[in-house]
Amino acid sequence: MESYLRIAPLVKLKPSNSHDLVGVGLRHPHYSYVLENKPPLGWFEVHSENYFMKGGPALHFLERIREEYPLSLHGIGLSLGSADGLDKNHLRRLKDLIYRFSPFLVSEHLSWSRVNETYFPDLIPLPYTEETFSLLAQNIDEAQTFLGREILVENPSSYLEYRDSIFSETDFLASLCRKTGAKILLDINNVYVSSFNHGWDAGAYIRAISPEFVGEIHLAGHSLRTFEDGSVLRVDTHSSCVCDEVWALYHQALQQGIRAPTLIEWDEEIPDFEVLMQEAITAQGFLEKKEVAYG
């Protein structure tokens, strides 16, 4: 990573073109730092459900930070892929939060988390079938109609594929965008993780994404899980720096014309804010088409 850090200078991260905004996922250990230091970032993103409460310090901090920065709301609990349909109460709380904070982006995941009134705090993959497509199109349409705005749908990190899937993930996402008007939140780390786990070609995945459908980009780190039988899966833990392979895929995405606000995510073993800032500066370097070194 040092090669990137040397090349990317400490630049202002508030370019005039909103597609070139670089942001960071805001987590509570950094509230005070952000308010005191006002880091030169284009925006922040938070997990919507962490602010569903009626009051308290978290909302207070977020309001103060929102006064200074554009904000994106990234949901992890709406469960767009639930066969049971959407949780209306969850949707109502999200709408209240949108009203309160006027986010410039609202996103969710191509996954499911809730069945039989049991919620799993995980983004469980869906089989890519006709039935799933119809259900997702209906649920996305319901969410967008209720919220009165477009949402973005993130490609998941997946650890399993279903025997009965008949569509590729990229075709499935593109068709959903055409059908619902939703956009893709292209998580490039997820592309890399899923590609490794299933033997996909990550470069081909990025090439299959049409730039017009992409409304946001996520970058994050992940970890390796080695099982007793020696098999290995990559796991989307958001617990480390973005790896070189993911930076290379990001570069590829930019080269093929995908331009969207880019976010650095970090959720486990959260480091000092300066580390996130360096990751953001690296992303900004790519966006400004500076020379970059790979590997």
Binding site: V115, Y119, Y162
Partner: protein, 253 residues
């Protein structure tokens, strides 16, 4: 062809130990069992962490290993799993579970300690309201006091226990090194008038007085409901106003 509703119900069964969900998974490198275990593990660890965030003092009191063990045992029972994606409101049943959990059953005070911590958690995320101060009452005619209805702050939660939770909390906070547990009750108020949650320890008589106010009785009805000889109205109201206990007032008709 797979039915999504059935597949999702089968995932729930797989979380409880049934292995048939593995039949949905494409064979390709790592076994379906290993692939599925990533999801089961993410769910268990995520929910355990959510409990640890809600009950940090309980974790401190019984130690991380014991608390994690209790959390994982709690999560094995389907009724304990969250119903919605708002985890901030999930976990209220954990103290009751601690009462039944064999390794912690001997710690009779533990469930009440955890119940108080849940109320502290509720106070943290309660609706914000600016509490009343003495200034708000300065022009009030004394004749109106009898008709006064004092609405408690939305973050105010009261709790009584058969155990001296104040002593136990002092140990957890490191205020004292060790204690000989007294055989007495304790009465607590968890409240967040502004940005910080406070725990206040109340006398039995003040606890009773506030309980009357909480159920909507007027000031005079609350005073009539308790033993006036042991009650110091001025001190109790001063304490209440200093600690943001009231958020609104009205008058009975």
């Amino acid at each position: 062809m797979v039915n999504l509703q059935v597949l999702q119900k089968d995932f729930l069964e797989s979380y409880k130990g049934d292995s048939s969900f593995e039949n949905y998974i494409q064979m390709n490198g790592p076994s379906p069992q290993n692939r599925l275990s990533i999801h089961h593990n993410t769910i268990r660890v995520g929910l355990k962490k959510a409990l640890a965030i809600t009950y940090p003092l309980t974790w401190e009191l019984i130690g991380e290993d014991c608390a994690n063990g209790a959390a994982y045992a709690f999560l094995r029972e389907e009724p304990h799993l969250p119903k919605t994606g708002n985890l901030d409101e999930w976990g209220a049943a954990f103290p009751d579970f601690l009462e039944q959990f064999p390794p912690t059953q001997s710690l009779a005070y533990l469930p009440d300690f955890a119940r108080l911590e849940w109320l502290k958690h509720m106070a943290y995320s309660a609706e914000d309201q600016i509490p009343l101060s003495a200034h708000d009452f300065k022009d009030m005619d004394a004749e109106n006091y009898a008709k006064l209805l004092l609405k408690l702050h939305p973050s105010a939660h009261f709790f009584s226990s058969s155990f001296p939770l104040d002593q136990i909390l002092a140990v957890v906070n490191g205020d004292v090194e060790s204690i000989e547990l007294e055989s007495r009750k304790s009465y607590a108020l968890a409240i967040r008038p502004f940005q910080t949650v406070h725990i206040h320890w109340l006398s039995e008589i003040d606890f009773a007085f506030f309980s009357y106010l909480q159920k909507g009785d007027s000031l005079i009805e609350a005073i009539e409901g308790i033993d006036e000889k042991k009650f110091h109205l001025h001190e109790t109201l001063s304490f209440s106003l200093q600690n943001g206990l009231f958020s609104e007032y009205a008058f009975t008709s």
